[in-house]
Each structure stands twice: as structure tokens, then as C-alpha cells.
Amino acid sequence: MSSNPTNSLPKGNGLVPPPRVEAAIDRVRASVGDRVSAGIVRWGFVAVTVLLVGFFAITEPNFRTVDNVFGMLKFIAPTAIAGLGVMIAMTVGGIDLSVGASAGFAVSIAAWTMVIGNQVGGVAVGVVLVGGALIGALNALLIVVARIPDLLATLTMMFVIVGLKLLIVDGKSISSKMTLDNGTTAPGRFTEDFLWLDRGTIGPVPVPVVIFFLLTVLLWFLLERTRWGRALYAVGANSEAARLAGIRVQLYRTAAYIGCGLLASVAGLLLAARIGQGDVSAGNSLLLDAVAVSLVGVSVLGIGRPNAWGTALGAVLIAVMVTGFTMIGLPYYAQDFGKGIVLLIALLFSFTFSKKRTVVVAGSMTN
């Protein structure tokens, strides 16, 4: 396999090929075979996605409709957004396993605020976002201050958050106009403005897809174009060197976990609006998909580190696969197998076939 001389920060949006100078060095250094395998590492996932889309588009007329495209993106948006959250935690060399629980917490809290608290959707959104930030801050407290390894801290938080949610809602799903314990009817309901988060469109584009896209662009810009993003990556690449370079490592790690908690709660808001009630089991399956999506993101384009567009592409790939498999009549349980294979290939690209020494992934840094 070739060494990959272009692993400096991507100059463009992450989808742009490397600049000419680096390509020239690449040509000189790499033998033909090396370049082929480097190309596979770099473009493999894009190619797989394109091939799958092509295959389903040709074989399934329903697949190539605009409705289906938006439907797929809307379906995957919560996963993608939670995956972006995990991606942020991964930039500082950490991981967050509490995203699924956080999203589920957000679902119940949103429902509770509107139905029991009789508040409008805007208030629910505010409460949920504050809650997500608090969860992130608590994760950061455990990891940064109490110095519990990230994997264990967030795993523990996963239980704590799920338990706290069940305590708050008495273990019940909260729906509009439900009957309360004292025999009265709940005062509030899921308001229209809240349901707009799922059902609304901006132009022809569903709101969740817009939010997904905007967050991806925002995070891409933040990570690749601002000094804060560079500092986050520096913490992930070598936290001691970053600290000696004057970067406030602990602040950045804290910010990363808070950002992750916020994104997980946004994912929860979209789920709540989709379900239309405070389903206590919502979010349970989100974690594995979110982690998978962010890991795929690391290997996409051979970038070798967590990044926004790669994560988004990973989400799209999973959406295409799940939708396509369903359309061609494969049972739902084939989806998990497909996801597993995709993730396996992603990990092989990241760790085995790529010579890059800088894969920053999950739990690789504990202080």
C-alpha cells in the first residue's frame, strides 16, 4: 500500500481531490499497484455508494423518484445527526456511547414538556437542547475532570440517562391527551409547530433533510475552516503537543462532548416529531448506527480522521442500502447484516489497508 502523502488537512470541502503538488509527489512515489490500492482506499466508499444507487435506480423504478430520495434522506437524518455528534467526540480522540440514550431522553422530554407541561413546541425545543448540552457537560465532567476513560464514562451515562428518562415519565410513553394517573386528561399535546420539524418542507425539501444538510455544512466549516476545528483535531492528534502549543485541551474536549450532546438532542427532536409521541423506546437503536456512520466517515476518501462530509456520506450509504434492500424484498434483518459488512469494510480501509498512522478513533485516547 502506498504511503499517503496527502494526509494534511483537506484543502477543499473534503470531497475535492488533493492539490496538484501533492498529486505530483504521489505520482513520483507510488508505484502503479500502490496507487491502485490507494485509490481503492480513497474512493472505495464513494464508488460503492454510486454503484448501489445505480443498481437500485435501474432495477427499482420507485427508487429513482424525488420523493424516495427525500424520503431516504429524511429517514436517515436523525441517525446522521447523531453520527455527526459522535464524529465531534472522535475529533478529540474520544467517543460518545450515550448519543442514543440522549436522543431517547430528548424524545421523552420534548413530549413531557408539551403534553404534561402544556408548552408550545418552541419551548420544548429549548428545553431539549439545554438538556442535551447538560448531558454533554456531564459526560465531559466524567471524562475530563474525573478522568474516567471515555468509553466507560459514556457507557455509564447511557444507563443513567435512560434510567433518568424512565423515572421522569414513570416508565410510560407520553402521547397527546393521554389519561394521567389522577384520572384527568393531560393538558397539552404535540403542537403543530413541533410536528413541523418532521412534516414541514422548505421548498420541496423536508425540514429534517434541511437540518441534516445545514448541520453538515456547519460542522465542515467549523472543523476544516476555523481555528477551533483545527484545535479540536490537534487535541485528537496529540493532546500533549496541543497543550504545549497553548491549546486549552480540557476546554476543547469539554466543548466536543457538549457539541455531541447537543447534536444527539437534535436527533431526538426529529425522532419525536416523526413519532408524534414520547415513545420510551425511541432512540434505543440509534447508537450503533450513529457510531457506524461516523466510523465510515473516517475511512471515506482516505481522509483517515473524523470529518463531516464523510459522516454524511456514511449515513446516505446506509439509507440507500436499507431502502434498496427493502424495495428488492430482502427481509428487514438483512439490513443489519448489510450495515455490518459496510462497517467492516470501513474499518479495513481505515486500519488495515491504509498506511496512515493517524486514524483517530474511538477510545484511542484515555488520559
Binding site: N7, S8, E22, N238, S239, A242, L244, A245, T358
Partner: protein, 540 residues
């Protein structure tokens, strides 16, 4: 003095293990050069050398952990291939590594730890029987004159005192009845009473005909124990001498002789303005306070061995640690940085000791490695401007003659010397008031060393202060206007290099090294080693 010493005694000692033309390199970095050595049975050979001299590489080659060495190693006259630690052990070479913790598996019993090599040995002895295990473990420990009860053998090895754990690793190493036993700093975690006990054991083993290679920084121990001393420096054997040891010669060999490669400074500058003051700072809990004026306009070289307080002083100045007692001043005002960013804001930069761990962002380009501390200056409204970053990077590359294909090349592709130039250049590009460089020339070739030295002189002549800390006399002589020698956390010498000669510096460096004081010296050293915080604890 590089002749083989085996013939001097004319006794029954013969070479058990011989190395002939052994070399080793990591990529282009040659760490062992044409080593020819013989280790005789019934004798203890001490291996001395400063950091990076190649000691651990040599030990690893001998113990099978560095199979890619070139040259030949023969055991009892037969050429052998030491391809793995197991192979080396089967051929009669056992090693006890420096960190006792690495040799003990917590969770297993003491007996199981003694017999650990059996557990690793495939299917042979697959079924364990605790009574037989105990008997075997007791037999192994008996070689060391130990008689531990079943209760001790059955307890979790994690609960052993460190000195007992050391004995467990030693017993394990001896189980394979080695012909050559390698001990790497075996006393670093022991009290002096425990060390004495270990020495008794080693003397008994020597009497039984074992060849022992003993690595230590403690001259007192070597004086007490060794039959001959091998000095390594820059990967080559400088000398191999028998008793009685000429310590000054040995120390010269270890720390660097004036060679044609070193050069004298053309001009010795004397700084006028005081940039920073170290006032009554206590570097270690029990050392005397240090006071020092750091002046602009001169390069200050601080010389000290490991444990002398070099890195501690550098870390205080760089904001990585706070003084136990005493205070710092910078530009006439109080200076108490709580973290590196405070130091940087005040114009103090630190090139840390361990480049890979503390300075390099692996996988990042040269340009991005250079810009890390200057992200704010490289941005407008928080948005990074590649142009500003690249201008700075190009300036650094030109300033220090960094050899790199481009500023976009990953820093990992550069040689060690050029990586170091990038890091030094990064910090000097901040136009610091005070630049502190801790062992900046470790693993750096001479050309890069001169480039960095010239750049420091230039910085000093612009009125700033440059402080270089090193354990190498030649390095310090080459780059410094003023030389401060640090011994055991205190200043032993402070003067300008044109008023000092080499012998005076080495004398001060080594403190009182007359034979009668050696033991005491070693004890001080040992005491210090115990109080020095390991670098790992400076967590992020």
C-alpha cells in the same frame, strides 16, 4: 582502552556471548554502530551511557527484541540468530527489563508469575497443577536464596512489594538457566537495603559462573559490583575497562570527548538585561533552592544529568508545572504561568524534551505543525487563512534550512533532525522573549544541531534570551555563551564559556566524584530518581 579485557586476568573466564560488528538503525537513524563486545562467564559487565547512547537498543538486540540487527552474535563460539525473546532465552540469554511492572502480571499468583514462561509455551504443560506449580516456583526462588511460604506463592502478584516483584522477575529470568543475564536498571525502584540484597544475589550468581550485563546510571553501584565497564556513546563502544575503574576517563567517554566534530564558539556574548529571574526555586522536594538570572543577549546552556533538575526547570519556565517553592520573574514582573498558554502569552516558548510525544502532530503537514500555536494569528474572524499559515511555514523552512519536499509534506516523512528544526523554528517564529529548549539535539544530526545553534545565537543577539538544557558537554559548549551546571537540583557552576575550560565544567558536572564520595553521590542520585516525577504523569 577499547581492547577486549578478557585476557588480563588469565583466569578461567571465557567469553560466553560475543558481539561482532553489531549495528542497528531505525530507518536512516543509526543507533548502534559496529559494536564488538564480549561478555565473560563469572563476571559482571556494567553498561554505561547517556540517554540515546544505544544501551537499550543493544539490550534489545541481545534479548531478541530487536531481531533486525546486522552483524553477528555468537554464544559459546557458535553464531546464533536472536529472532525473538523466546529464541534468546532458549539460547541462554535472559533479560530483566527496567520496569518491574512490565514483568509482573497482576491477577495471577506469585507462583504463576514465576512460571510465566511456561504459561506462554504452547501446549507443553497445558494442564496446570497448583501443587506442582508451587514446587517449581519454590525451586526457582531457592536459586535466589528465597524461601517463600505457600501463602505468599498463592497471593496475587499485584500485592507484592516492588522489591519482591523484582525478585520474582529475576527468578523467572533464571529459570531457563541462562548463560547471560541482562539487568536493566534493576535498582531504580529499590531502597538501598533492597538493592544490597539484590547485590548479594548477583554476587552469588556470578560466583556460580553466570555472565551478567548490568545497566545502571549509578556509579556507586557499578563501583561496588562490576568487574568491567562498557561505555556507549552515540551508538559506539567508547571503552571497555577493567577494575580499578578510572572514573574520570569513563565519564569523559560517556559524556563526550572534545572531538574534531565539536567546535568552539567564535565569540562569547555577554547579556546585559535580565529577561527572567528564577528566585529560590526548589526543583525537588528535598533539594536546595536555585536562583538564576536569565539574561537577554546570550545563549545560556544548562548542563545536568538525568535527575539534576533540567527538565523540571524547563517545565517551570514553560508553564507545565508550578514550583514547589520560590518564584519566577519575567521582564521585572511576577511570572507564574499556570499552563503553557500563559507562558506563550508572556513570550516564553518551550521546545520540549520528547519531540514525538510532546511536540509533533503525527500525520499533519509541516505547515500545520508549525501553525498550531498561532491559530489565532492565522485567522480572521475565527476562519483560518491558509495564506498566513503558509507564509509562516515557508519562513520557518527557509530560516532553518529545513529539508522537506514542500510545506505540505507530512512531518513524519522528515528526518529526526529536520522534524526538530520544524519544531524549533515553529517556536522561534513567535519572536519569543525567552526560548527554552530542553534536550533539543537528541537524535539530531550535527548539521541540524549547528543550524539550530546558529539560529539561537541570532535570537540572543536580537536581545532575547535563549536557554538550552542538555546532558551533553559538547552540545552545551558548542551553543552556549554562558554555562550553568546543575547538580541534584542546585547550581554547581555558573560562568561564561570563554572563562571556563572543559575539565572545570566536567568536574562541576560530576560533583564530587572522588572514590570515597562515589557511594554518597550514588545515594543522592538514587534519592533524586525517586522524587523525579515521570513525564507520563504530566497528563493532558
Amino acid at each position: 582502552m577499547t581492547s577486549a579485557p578478557l585476557t588480563t586476568e588469565g583466569d578461567a573466564r571465557t567469553a560466553v556471548v560475543s558481539l561482532s560488528g553489531v549495528s542497528f538503525s531505525y530507518g536512516s537513524n543509526v543507533v548502534l554502530r559496529d559494536v564488538n563486545l564480549q561478555f565473560a562467564n563469572g563476571s559482571i559487565t556494567a553498561l554505561l551511557g547517556a540517554n540515546g547512547a544505544g544501551k537499550s537498543t543493544l539490550i534489545k538486540a541481545l534479548s531478541g527484541a530487536n531481531p533486525r540487527y546486522s552483524g553477528s552474535i555468537s554464544i559459546a563460539g557458535e553464531s546464533v540468530t536472536l529472532s525473538s525473546p523466546t529464541a534468546a532465552r532458549n539460547l541462554g540469554i535472559s533479560a530483566v527489563h527496567q520496569k518491574v511492572a512490565d514483568g509482573i502480571v497482576p491477577g495471577l499468583t506469585v507462583a504463576e508469575n514465576v512460571l510465566l514462561d511456561d504459561l506462554a509455551g504452547g501446549f507443553r504443560g497445558l494442564l496446570r497443577n497448583s501443587r506442582r506449580d508451587f514446587a517449581e516456583a519454590r525451586a526457582a526462588l531457592a536459586l535466589l536464596g528465597l524461601d517463600w511460604s505457600d501463602r505468599v506463592l498463592a497471593q496475587d502478584a499485584r500485592d507484592l512489594r516492588i522489591s519482591d516483584a523484582q525478585l520474582v522477575t529475576l527468578a523467572r529470568a533464571l529459570r531457563s538457566t541462562p548463560q547471560l543475564l541482562i539487568l536493566d536498571e534493576p535498582t531504580s525502584a529499590l531502597t538501598s537495603a533492597e538493592a544490597d540484597r539484590l547485590f548479594e544475589v548477583l554476587r552469588a550468581l556470578r560466583a556460580d559462573g553466570l555472565a551478567i550485563v548490568y545497566v545502571s546510571h549509578r556509579f556507586g553501584e557499578i563501583e561496588a559490583l562490576a568487574d568491567s565497564v562498557v561505555v556507549l556513546r552515540d551508538g559506539t563502544v567508547q571503552s571497555h575497562t577493567e577494575r580499578p575503574f578510572a572514573w574520570h576517563e569513563i565519564l569523559h567517554d560517556m559524556l563526550g570527548r572534545a572531538t574534531e566534530l565539536s567546535r568552539q564558539r567564535e565569540q562569547t556574548d555577554r547579556g546585559e538585561t535580565v529577561v527572567a529571574t528564577v528566585r529560590d526555586v526548589v526543583l525537588f522536594p528535598e533539594s536546595a533552592p536555585v536562583s538564576l538570572e536569565i539574561r537577554g543577549g546570550e545563549v545560556l546552556g544548562i548542563l545536568g544529568l538525568i535527575g539534576a533538575g533540567k527538565t523540571e526547570l524547563a517545565e517551570l519556565l514553560g508553564g507545565l508545572a508550578q514550583p514547589v517553592a520560590g518564584s519566577l520573574e519575567l521582564g521585572g514582573a511576577a511570572y507564574a504561568p499556570r499552563r503553557p498558554s500563559d507562558a506563550i502569552d508572556r513570550g516564553v516558548v518551550l521546545v520540549p524534551e520528547d519531540r514525538q510525544r510532546q511536540a509533533i502532530l503525527p500525520g499533519w503537514s509541516v505547515a500545520h505543525n508549525i501553525s498550531v500555536p498561532f491559530l489565532a494569528e492565522s485567522s480572521r474572524l475565527g476562519t483560518l487563512r491558509g495564506g498566513i499559515e503558509n507564509d509562516r511555514a515557508r519562513a520557518v523552512v527557509a530560516d532553518l534550512d529545513v529539508v522537506t519536499e514542500s510545506i505540505d509534506t507530512p512531518i513524519d516523512d522528515l528526518s529526526g533532525g529536520n522534524q526538530q528544526k520544524v519544531i524549533v523554528g515553529r517556536w522561534l517564529s513567535a519572536d519569543p522573549k525567552l526560548a527554552v529548549l530542553d534536550e533539543p539535539f537528541r537524535g539530531v544530526d550535527i548539521a541540524a544541531r549547528r543550524g539550530i545553534g546558529d539560529r539561537l545565537t541570532q535570537l540572543a543577539r536580537s536581545g532575547s534570551a535563549a536557554v538550552v538544557l542538555s546532558s551533553d558537554v559538547d552540545e552545551i559548549l558548542e551553543v552556549s555563551d554562558r554555562i550553568v551546571v546543575l547538580v541534584a537540583g542546585s547550581v554547581a557552576l555558573d560562568g561564561y564559556s570563554d572563562t571556563l575550560d572543559r575539565a572545570t565544567i566536567v568536574e562541576a558536572f560530576l560533583g564530587s566524584t572522588s572514590a570515597s564520595d562515589l557511594e554518597q553521590d550514588a545515594e543522592q542520585h538514587a534519592g533524586l530518581a525517586a522524587t523525579v516525577t515521570p513525564p507520563e504523569s504530566a497528563h493532558a
